[in-house]
């Protein structure tokens, strides 16, 4: 009995029980489809986060006050740490050749107002360098003036949402706004950007860093964002920054310097675990489908007991009987797997159409694993019923008992 005959025979048997075959195929394809779809979702989330970070450039160092021993995570509270000051920024710029640009960042929340309108927004204090470091763009007007870092100026750049809410159709350029008790003049409006790393960049006001620190009565910066000249220098630049700050902070290493890679690595680990967890859940449905195949094959064997007896009477060896049922089981699971691939790819295509921000693409390892598992499931779960058929006593089988 050659392979083609076996396939044809199995095909005829499966066609003979159309509904049962379709249901089993359904089970298998849901299992495989779930693996592919869920892992695609996990990978999509990871790709999304990676893209967000990559948009900032991969040459970024982030300095924050305080020190933790854990890598990758920022300390939650600064606590007793020495403040991170504007002088620190100047020292870094002066002493490290590897630093291309640097933007200090101070963050506060304040009520702003123009005329009768008020709004609670996040106020960022920085320098003109923030624009290239964070890959931001100005919509109209200009960005912060290039004054000395420790000199404030009563000028502000506002986000798109802030412009809409406070000024409506009115031209905001040159208009005064109140931030807390201070008066500023609007010099520019940022281009629409939307959410970026958890902050709605359209709903902020950006002022010179010295002004913001005075406004919020802050001694320490929130962050220093540093852009390094080349990605290969990022580790030595990080060391430079640590050395410079340690010297300035009386020999104590009381700041944390994160590289983009370490933050990204942390996210990658978390989302990788998420993907695996999703794959695990999907694997359960895949194994349920495998057991479904075994169930169907067992029923099929007991139903076709007289047929097994006949095949034996016609000269079939136990080995041939084994093959007949095994091929049927593998055909069933392979077809289900193939259908599942289709379902998975179709599903993830629909998902990425519906949520363009989420680049869902099934990872190759999951596709390979699901396909292999679906084939193996047929062989594995088909063996028991097939062996049962092969071992049937032909006399008893012919009698249909």
């Amino acid at each position: 009995m050659n392979a083609l005959d076996l396939l044809r025979f199995a095909w005829a048997a499966l066609k003979g029980h159309r509904l049962r075959t379709i249901l089993t195929l359904g089970g298998m394809s849901i299992g495989v489809g779930a693996v592919i779809l869920l892992t695609a979702l996990g990978e999509g989330a990871r790709a999304y986060v990676t893209n967000e970070f990559m948009a900032l450039g991969s040459n970024l160092l982030i300095v924050l006050p305080g020190k933790t021993e854990t890598t990758g995570n920022a300390p939650i509270l600064g606590g007793t740490a020495r403040p991170l000051t504007l002088e620190d920024c100047e020292a870094i710029l002066r002493h490290s050749r590897r630093v291309r640009r640097l933007a200090p960042l101070s963050v506060g929340s304040a009520r702003i107002g123009h005329g009768e309108r008020r709004r609670e927004v996040t106020v960022l204090g920085s320098t003109p360098e923030l624009l290239p470091v964070r890959r931001l763009e100005v919509g109209i007007g200009r960005f912060l003036p290039d004054v000395e870092i420790d000199r404030g100026a009563p000028v502000a750049v506002i986000g798109r949402t802030v412009q809409m809410e406070l000024f409506g159709p009115e031209n905001p350029l040159g208009q005064p706004i109140r931030i807390g008790d201070w008066r500023f003049r609007v010099v520019g409006v940022m281009a629409a950007k939307g959410q970026s790393l958890g902050l709605n960049m359209d709903d902020v006001v950006i002022v010179p860093v010295a002004s913001s620190m005075r406004l919020f009565n802050q001694l320490s910066l929130f962050r220093i964002l540093i852009e390094v000249g080349a990605h290969s220098e990022i580790d030595s630049a990080r060391q430079d920054v640590l050395d410079i700050l340690r010297e300035r902070h009386e020999g104590e290493e009381d700041v944390t310097v994160l590289t983009q890679d370490s933050v990204l690595g942390a996210f990658n680990r978390i989302l990788g675990a998420l993907t695996l967890a999703l794959a695990g859940i999907a694997a359960i449905s895949l194994s349920v489908a495998g057991i479904g195949i075994m169930n169907v094959m067992l029923v099929s064997v007991s139903e076709r007991t007289p047929e097994v007896g006949l095949l034996k009477a016609l000269g079939a060896t136990p080995r041939q009987i084994l093959k007949v049922f095994l091929v049927e089981a593998v055909l069933l699971s392979a077809a289900g797997g193939l259908l599942g691939l289709l379902v998975g790819y179709l599903g993830s295509a629909i998902l990425s159409q519906a949520f363009p921000a989420l680049p869902t693409r099934p990872p190759t390892w999951a596709v390979a694993a699901a396909t292999a598992v679906s084939l193996a499931a047929g062989a594995l779960f088909g063996v028991l019923p097939a062996r049962r058929a092969a071992r049937l006593d032909p006399v008893i089988a012919l009698a249909g008992r």
Binding site: G309, L314, G315
Partner: protein, 225 residues
């Protein structure tokens, strides 16, 4: 040539031992036409199964064409069934999802014969039983007599030397039954050894030789009375 010497077959049912065959000795020359008769439970079917290498004797010897086959492993018995023996059953045992031709091709598929040759031989076998125009019908589109003729075509397509028929007319009306037995007799005249198990004295009476079994023993062996 079939030679049985001191053949016994026991079954264990619960803690009881059933003696289906007790010391059966028998010689069936090539081309013989033998009817196996006897009451239910007399061992007719068991003997037929052993003759057809579907079952093995508990003791004694079964020599088929000069080779001891009573103790061969399952794989070699399958080979003998494939080449030397054709079965016809009371309930036809056609595979419902296959056409008449497909059913006739089954033993050839198992024997690994090429598709082209298979089709040619199946067509020839169906022609021999007068079913050329029913080759592409499924069993449920055929009458009982036609089904049994498909089964006979299937049993003989591999060119066996022995045809074993277990109540071949038991599920047919009288007219169809006669047609079937006449078909089998025609094949016997062409040299096929035929062993028929039957309850029907009319069918049994047509055989060249009648073997009566009672309680697993040969009660009588001779020509029709």
């Amino acid at each position: 040539m079939i030679e049985l010497r001191g053949l016994t077959r026991h079954f264990h049912v619960g803690d009881q031992t059933v003696h289906a065959l007790r010391a059966v000795s028998l010689a069936v020359p090539d081309g013989d036409y033998l009817a196996l008769m006897g009451p239910s439970g007399s061992g007719k079917s068991t003997l037929l199964h052993i003759l057809g290498c579907l079952d093995r004797p508990t003791s004694g010897s079964y020599v088929l064409d000069g080779h001891e086959v009573g103790s061969l492993p399952e794989g070699e018995l399958a080979e003998i069934r494939s080449r030397k023996i054709g079965f016809v059953f009371q309930f036809f045992h056609l595979v419902p999802r296959l056409t008449a031709a497909g059913n006739v091709e089954l033993p050839m598929i198992l024997a690994g014969i090429r598709p082209g040759e298979r089709r040619a031989r199946a067509a020839k076998a169906l022609a021999a039983v007068g079913l050329t125009d029913r080759a592409s019908h499924r069993p449920d589109q055929l009458s009982g007599g036609q089904r049994q003729r498909v089964a006979i075509a299937r049993a003989t397509v591999m060119g066996p030397s022995i045809l074993l028929a277990d109540e071949p007319t038991g599920n047919l009306d009288r007219a169809s039954g006669r047609e079937i037995i006449e078909l089998i007799e025609r094949m016997n005249r062409d040299g096929l050894t035929v062993v028929v198990v039957t309850h029907d004295p009319e069918i049994g009476g047509r055989a060249r030789r009648i073997l009566k079994l009672v309680d697993g023993r040969i009660a009588s062996d001779g020509g029709p009375s």
